[in-house]
Amino acid sequence: MSLLNVTALHKYYGDNHVLKGIDLKVEEGEVVAIIGRSGSGKSTLLRTLNGLESINDGVIEVDGDYIDAARADLRSLRQKVGMVFQQFNLFPHLSVGENIMLAPQVVKKMGRDDAQQLARQMLERVGLGEKFDAFPERLSGGQQQRVAIARALAMSPRVLLCDEITSALDPELVNEVLAVVKQLASEGMTLIMVTHEMRFAREVGDKLVFMHQGKVHEVGDPKQLFAEPQTAELRQFIGSINF
């Protein structure tokens, strides 16, 4: 049984059919890169996986928790599925340490001392141990995104969703974030990322998902797909990108 199973997933925005029957399996420890043109539904798909977008048909199952059109199990499912956003979305009124401590304290009822220790560990993990008392606005974009990763990791998720997490960064800050993601991948973290970093997807990804017009158009080993795309659409897409 796969860690994450998506079956016959459909999503509409009004009359607009944005996800047209998605099937996807993600194994434990797998790094999945989702690529595609804007409007292909890749971010929407990612956001359905932790219930940020409701779905109209189909089932999402993560380690025994389900989402279907009736939207169940969110509290439990979201503890298993972490998410990092393009815009970081750190809580500006809390220090870096408090950003990470909040959910463990509120959701998991962890004591303050334990949460603090956990937050320090997570910050070490993303190479920001010295920033515990800093406020987010004082950090660079790359540092903020690493804090956001640490914040998600503090809930010990089984899967981490990354929604274009380097797209809002200045070019020189992209690599420090990708390095953290690469390290997580090497530690066996299950990752599903929507990304424009094709080189990264090819090097680090175990599975490449190419979305086109609301469907999984092609899926397979990244190196193979980049070398020999099977469909004209993927060939065209790869051709249109410099990397």
Partner: protein
Amino acid sequence: MDFTFWDILRNLLVGLQWTLLLSLVAFACGGVAGLLLLLARISPLQPLRVLARGYIELFQGTPLLMQLFMVFFGIALLGIDVSPWLAAACALTLFTSAFLAEIWRGCVESISHGQWEAAESLAMSRLEVLRHVVLPQAMRIAIAPTVGFSVQVVKGTAVTSIIGFTELTKTGGMLANATFEPFMVYGLVALGYFLLCYPLSLAAYRLERRLNVTA
């Protein structure tokens, strides 16, 4: 009977105390009720939202004086004897809560959607997100307009003189009749309101500026 200037001033100060007290009560009770109303107004449950919206529209769309009459005479119709003090406090609380809820709703909605999504992705419930993430940020934004609105509450207490509550305006009216010096007495009454309101306006202005500088 003759009134010296000091007699007038002393009596007005007593009235001023009642104005101040009524303002504080209305603001405190209105704040609590306003917070509940805010929660209803942004609730995921549609009936609650509709009810809260209706309440807010009603109290924003009718004169405070009519609200006061409704409370004062309405409750009396039920056979319950209400003192002017209680009626005034109730009416001003209703009025204040409607306006504060609407001011605060604007502040809550100005917090970016990404904050909600990030907190919900960490498995926090709607109320937990509000309490730990959204309201603390919204409160900072809300301070200046809230203090600014308190000026309206203070001035609003003047209408309670109509139902016989002896606050500053009512006291002024009685003194004007007794002394035949309405200009001087009402001048002092106005000064009294100004002394209460000006520091509030000033504080609101300063808070607003400080917020704009840091933002």
